[in-house]
Amino acid sequence: MSNYDRSMALTGQPPVTLSRNQKLATLLGMFGLAILLLAAFNVNFPGKATWLSISLMAISVGTIWFSWDAYSKKEPGIKNDGVWFKSISSKGFWGWIAGIALTGFYIILYFYPEYLGLVSGGDNKGVIGLFDPLSKALSGNPASQWFVYGTLYTVAILAFGIKFIWKYRHNRYEKIRTFSVMFFQLGFAFLIPEFMARLNGSSVLNGGSLPYYDLKNMWPLNYYNFEGYRIKGFLSSGDIGFAMLIFGIVTIFVISPILTYRFGKRWYCSWVCGCGGLAETAGDSFRQLSDKSVKAWKIERWVVHSVVVFVTLMTTAVIYSYLGTDTSKYWLTKSTFLLGVGGLLTTIFVLVMVFKREQFQKDAKYGAIGYFVIIMALIGFHYFSGEGNVFLFKSETLRKSYSFLIGSIFSGVIGTGFYPIFGNRVWCRFGCPMAAILGFQQRLFSRFRITTNGGQCISCGNCSTYCEMGIDVRAYAQKGENIVRSSCVGCGICSAVCPRGVLKLENGPLKGRIDSNQVLLGNDVDLMNLVNQK
């Protein structure tokens, strides 16, 4: 074992030690955070707009200054020196402190926003009050805890995005990809919805008001998109509202399958998605902490697919709950809807089982069949019994438990709060139903793969270590196999850190995409044939 001194101090030896610039930058960033913290403890700042600007600037400039000092003076190339010596990035003392602090923040954010100063029907106080001027400037409304969170989230993606671009400035794939997540976060997730809120009540929307809608956020990631109040909002807002509702349906059923077929799920997970955006930028320092064991992979498959089943049931129940029974009023009734859902799931299930059966492992087959039977039984049970609660529970109970367990605890508290402990993609890997659905398409119907370069692998392990999704990339590369895994988000870091140029993310022909040949190029041709015999 390395006997390198894993010091808790911010000083210490290179590569762990901080330079004077980095210390000053840390101080500046901490000053920015301190303003927010003081505001949270109800210190009243005169000139909120000024102090908020100072705080956000200090955080951004501190982060950018730090990374400028860390990377700009070095030659372009891989910058992982000391990652496992620094306590923040190797589950050391500072890693745990950061994890606990973030987790605490999420608990307050989700469950006790009043501690952040949220006042319903009055002037906000505390840290939320500090954000009021910015919120009013953008949408015209006072801030909420979600506005504070959204702003900080965006600042984090932008500032750490610049850090990431500096770190990987030799790699154009990484640079362009990072520009993309920064753009989608700033524009689609943050600014556009705020501006759209200004239209509410205006004649453009026929006097209706749109729900807050991040257009790039698809069902089932935004599991609430088809809830009754949102549908009312969409339908009340004229053609624009209707178009957005249609867009929400088209994205998941048409646009996303096409893009995933062509590029793999990376088009979404590491180029567009906000969760992915935060993981790739602010979370980049923690990517090496994901668990690569086969056991973790098994758990991942069960957990993430269970979430897909849960969200499907929940959404079906919620939509069911507000549909009518009278076909003369509206064509879509409770029973046609249930039949439709059942029909769609059956079609997918049958097609996959007929054409892609051989690509499933045994446990995956059992899992798929088991879940399919459960869903169909619940739908049928309900359909034939007539009234009552759909799926044995009230739809509201289902919705609430999903929102609490998955929407808040899993994606927020664990998913982001535990970055420094479990790695930056815990949510994406174990919890995100969107990632699971895209991954399913990526594994079975996509041109995307990571190509292994003949026999060049030296089994060093950089690819596996720096895979944020916990894929044991090396296990494939050292056998000469391509990597086609449903969980791969296509961040491209395995390819970047490979010292021998073995890995390439590419979209190629379906034929030969999944080759399980245990042959490595450069060998005797006859031997290759022999080794290849099963």
Binding site: N171, S459, K504
Partner: protein
């Protein structure tokens, strides 16, 4: 059931074990004095640099061995009795074998320099060397300067490692330019420049005369032969190549040269004893290869080959087209086919060299003077597709064809800058040709019809 004993748990030994297991139910025992489990030797540097922990450079999880019924024994083999087929192992009982595979790898070269066994003088090959380096050079306060002797792949890796902890490094290279016994001049020059960019004190054409001890028997300084200059230092890294690790076989009756002498079937002079990997020495070199190939990939191939032989399908070691790769600090290097440095360059070999005007990117393509046949390519800062070059070598394409289809071979990540246009323009200018580059074709790359 037959007992297969493998000495050494490196890539050669482990490849042999894995493939024997795939082909048979024989009892497999791997003996290693170095570590409990297989690890990637080439990745040791990343542990010192903090990119990975030691557990990360172990390619298989620890349950793998038991599941595949590969028994692991930790111990140093001190002798082999080939008559009774017994291994004596320090700290363990003797082991009987039916078939024995020697895969003991290499050890760093020492050329009899005065002071080469002092404290603070070491090579970099084994896990023990890595641990020793943590003691000798944990940081820049304990190790105020390091001197590295020997300008090859391990030397430059050791320099990179020490620089990651900000330790000042003086790099003594015997040759007039870095690794120019292997690399053509232009490439070697570019790496010289890159070494200096990393603030490494590169001394070309410089030899070590002796290592001076302090009163405690630790290294204090070194003397340079050419100038007589004395350089104070706390660590001397000896990285002037490696040689087979076979001292324990001296009295065994197994024929030894520099390594364990083997025939093309990887058999030694004694029945049922084989040698593979770094420690094996071919009686006759195969093609342009060296009799001893201390390369990761050849170790793997020999392991696969010997597994066939042991499982009843006696097979010659017939490596395919030569390939290799390395990374010099930030610059990746790949080679396919044969491109020789100035010393080894063949009479029939013409070398086309292109270097980007500002980026640290270059290629050298070798082709036959008479027939224009493509012989090999070195690339620096451009990744190439192994499959494509392997095919072109088999098909014996000519240099023009390679230039025309160069885009097919590119393996750089998406959106990277492409250099094919510039390369081919210079090729045309140099040789008065008018080759036009073809666009990258998925159909050609993946051989779809």
């Amino acid at each position: 059931m037959e007992n297969i004993v493998i000495i050494g748990n490196g890539i050669a030994g482990v490849s042999a074990a894995r493939h024997i297991r795939k082909l048979s139910d024989k009892r497999i025992i791997i003996v290693s004095a170095e570590t409990d489990y297989f690890f990637s030797r080439t990745a040791l540097m990343y542990v010192y640099m903090g990119h990975m922990k030691f557990e990360h450079i172990q390619p298989y999880e620890n349950w793998f061995w038991k599941k595949n019924r590969i028994e692991l024994v930790r111990g140093f083999v001190s002798g082999i009795d080939t008559k009774t087929k017994k291994l004596s192992i320090d700290g363990s009982r003797a082991l009987h074998y039916d078939k024995l595979i020697i895969a003991t790898g290499s050890k760093p070269n020492k050329f009899g320099w005065p002071g080469q066994d002092l404290h603070g003088v070491q090579g970099l090959y084994s896990k023990q060397d890595l641990d020793l380096l943590e003691t000798n050079a944990p940081n820049k306060d304990v190790c105020k300067r390091a001197v590295i002797v020997g300008g090859g792949l391990i030397g430059i890796e050791l320099a990179e490692m020490l620089r990651s902890r900000d330790i000042p490094v003086t790099f003594l290279v015997r040759e007039s330019s870095f690794w120019n016994g292997v690399l053509p001049e232009g490439e070697s020059q570019m790496i010289n420049e890159h070494i200096k960019e990393h603030h490494i004190d590169l001394r070309l054409g410089t030899n070590l005369k002796e290592i001076i001890a302090d009163e405690n028997g630790r290294v204090k300084s070194i003397i340079i032969q050419e100038t007589g200059e004395e350089l104070p230092c706390d660590l001397v890294g000896l990285t002037a190549g490696v040689s087979p690790n076979i001292d324990f076989l001296k009295d065994s009756g197994i024929e030894l040269g520099r390594g364990v002498k083997v025939n093309r079937f990887l058999e030694t002079n004694i029945k049922d004893i084989y040698a593979i990997g770094d420690c094996a020495e071919q009686h006759e070199a195969i093609g342009n290869r060296r009799p001893i190939e201390a390369v990761w990939y050849t170790g793997r191939m020999m392991g696969e080959t010997v597994a066939q032989t042991i499982c009843g399908n006696r097979m010659e070691y017939r490596p395919g087209h030569w390939f290799n790769s390395a990374k010099f600090l930030d610059i990746e290097y790949q080679t396919y086919g044969w491109v020789f440095g100035a010393r080894g360059k063949k009479d029939y070999e013409v070398q086309f060299h292109w270097r980007h005007e500002s980026d640290k990117v270059c290629i050298t393509m070798a082709f036959d003077k008479e027939t224009n046949k493509f012989l090999g390519i070195n690339t620096f800062g451009i990744r190439m597709r192994h499959e494509v070059f392997d095919r072109w070598l088999t098909e014996e394409r000519d240099a023009d064809y390679i230039m025309e289809h160069l885009a097919d071979a590119n393996f750089d990540p998406e959106f990277y800058k492409q250099y094919e246009g510039e390369i081919v323009a210079q090729y045309n200018a140099n040789y008065g040709k008018s080759v036009k580059t073809k666009k990258k074709s998925i159909k050609r790359i993946f051989q779809l019809n």
